[in-house]
């Protein structure tokens, strides 16, 4: 049923946006064809947090991220974003979430500037073309604005994808394996961008395979194992990398 719609008249209670945790899940689970992908996930992420989500392939990282992005429904438990029930408010919440993944989520035949402008219009951004030009400047793609993404390298594509995810100035940025396929230089550039965004006050959740890089970037790490939270700890302690690796290997 297409019942989701946006009602600008009914605004957020001011308290919600400031004090409520950005992400809050209780007993979140997802079952597909009787296979439990996620089980009993309880996570709370305050505003401005930077969380690294680690786990072996198939541990449920991407599914969890897709659930948080409101792309995939959870089959059990509760999911609140910005203090709001996702089931009830998905359409409005989407306006505050940005996502990048190893897929660019862009139109390969549409020039970079037009791609961004399109997404800006879709989100109802004021002056989308100007915003797009600014973001292209920020991700150092201004010279390539009339070039379609199919001619881009992996690193350029990933930067354009970040620009796309920032078109509507989201409060929560979800990054699903964004480092996949990047060379060292592009990977470093992406790291800098993520740090810069975190510094600007964005809440970030990142899934990644590289333990050292994740621990260095994020303030907190959650390790998933077979759909459950196996470890949830702040980064910083020297022994952490060891214990994360043990979980991933086991």
């Amino acid at each position: 049923m297409s019942t989701l719609s946006i009602n600008p008249a009914q605004d957020w209670p001011a308290a919600d946006t400031v004090t409520a945790p950005v992400v809050q899940t209780q007993g979140l689970g997802r079952v597909v064809d009787d296979r439990v992908i996620l089980r009993d996930i309880g996570l709370t992420l305050p505003r401005g947090g930077f969380l690294a989500l680690l786990g072996a392939n198939g541990a449920g990282k991407s599914t969890l991220l897709f659930c948080l992005a409101t792309l995939t429904p959870a089959t059990s438990g509760r999911l609140l974003l910005f203090g709001r029930e996702v089931k009830k408010d998905a359409a409005r919440l989407r306006a505050r979430i940005g996502m990048i993944s190893h897929q660019a989520m862009l139109y390969r035949d549409l020039p970079a500037l037009e791609n961004l402008t399109f997404f800006g219009r879709l989100y109802g951004v004021a002056r989308p073309a100007q915003k797009a030009a600014e973001l292209l400047e920020m991700v150092k793609l201004a010279d390539w604005r009339y070039e379609p993404p199919k001619n881009f390298s992996r690193g350029m594509l990933q930067r354009l994808a970040i620009a796309r995810s920032l078109m509507h100035d989201p409060d929560l940025l979800l990054a699903d394996e964004p480092f996949t396929g990047l060379d060292v230089r592009a990977s470093r550039q992406l790291e800098d961008l993520l740090r810069q965004l975190h510094g600007a006050g964005k809440t970030i959740i990142l899934t990644h395979h590289n333990i050292a890089q994740s621990l260095e970037l994020a303030g907190r790490v959650v390790v998933l194992r077979r759909g459950r939270v196996a470890l949830d700890a702040p980064t910083g302690s020297p022994a952490l990398a060891q214990s994360v690796e043990e979980i991933l290997v086991s």
Binding site: M1, S2, L4, S5, I6, F66, A69, T70, L71, T72, A91, R92, R94, A95, I97, G98, M99, S101, Q103, A104, M105, L106, Y107, R108, D109, L110, E114, F118, F119, R121, L122, Y123, G124, P148, P149, R164
Partner: protein, 254 residues
Amino acid sequence: MSRVWSQIAVLAGKDLAIEARTRQTLGLVVVLGILIIVVLGLGLGPQQMAPAPAPGMGGAAAAGATPGAAPGAAPGAAPGAAPGVAALWVAYLFAGVLCFEGSMAVERHDGALAGLLLAPVDRGVLYLAKLVTNLVLMLVLALVLTPVAVLLFGFDLSPAPGSFAAIMAISFVGLAAVGTLFAAVVSSSRLQGGLLAMAIFPVSLPLVMTSTQMLIRLFGQKSASGLSGLGILLAFDVIYLVAGWLAFELVLEP
């Protein structure tokens, strides 16, 4: 409400901008459509489609439309209406399926569909926007294919060009309503392309039957039953627009 319209315009505008750049769908579809008409023309045999009367061809209505047999017939009544209309519909159907497939394939690359689903846009709006894209593509298709069929099949549109356009336009809305929904099913489930034609054809048969019967009568001399046919076409449009709009959300998957 105005927000919905502007979102539809933005989404369909994006599809058409991509199509204008690549011409990957229309190029394919137009050539396929012309091929189908030529193949059907050759298969039916030139003697069946010559402007001379062709008795015993394509049902009672066409056979009865020979000018000599019916003195009251419109002067331009075309004897070749039945095979011409049938060939046109076959071409529209197959080429239409490729249109639906092509306009959905744009979303398949690089996870573009996920990008759309992330946006605060009602899924019903996504459906309507894709429908608009498909209708524009089919309009271009019809503008090319119809003259080809008129030429090769020697049937004459001049007695009622407006009615022809109206019947076709209403039929296209229904066809695109079904096709847009099933194209999303096939694309989201990563099925082979052949299945799309299989899913669309049987469902759109009432549309094809009604519209061909109406056109044959229109260009034959029997001009009766226009209204009941129109009612069926409109009912088809409404039913499948609502069904598609409701079901689109269920079948879309990033």
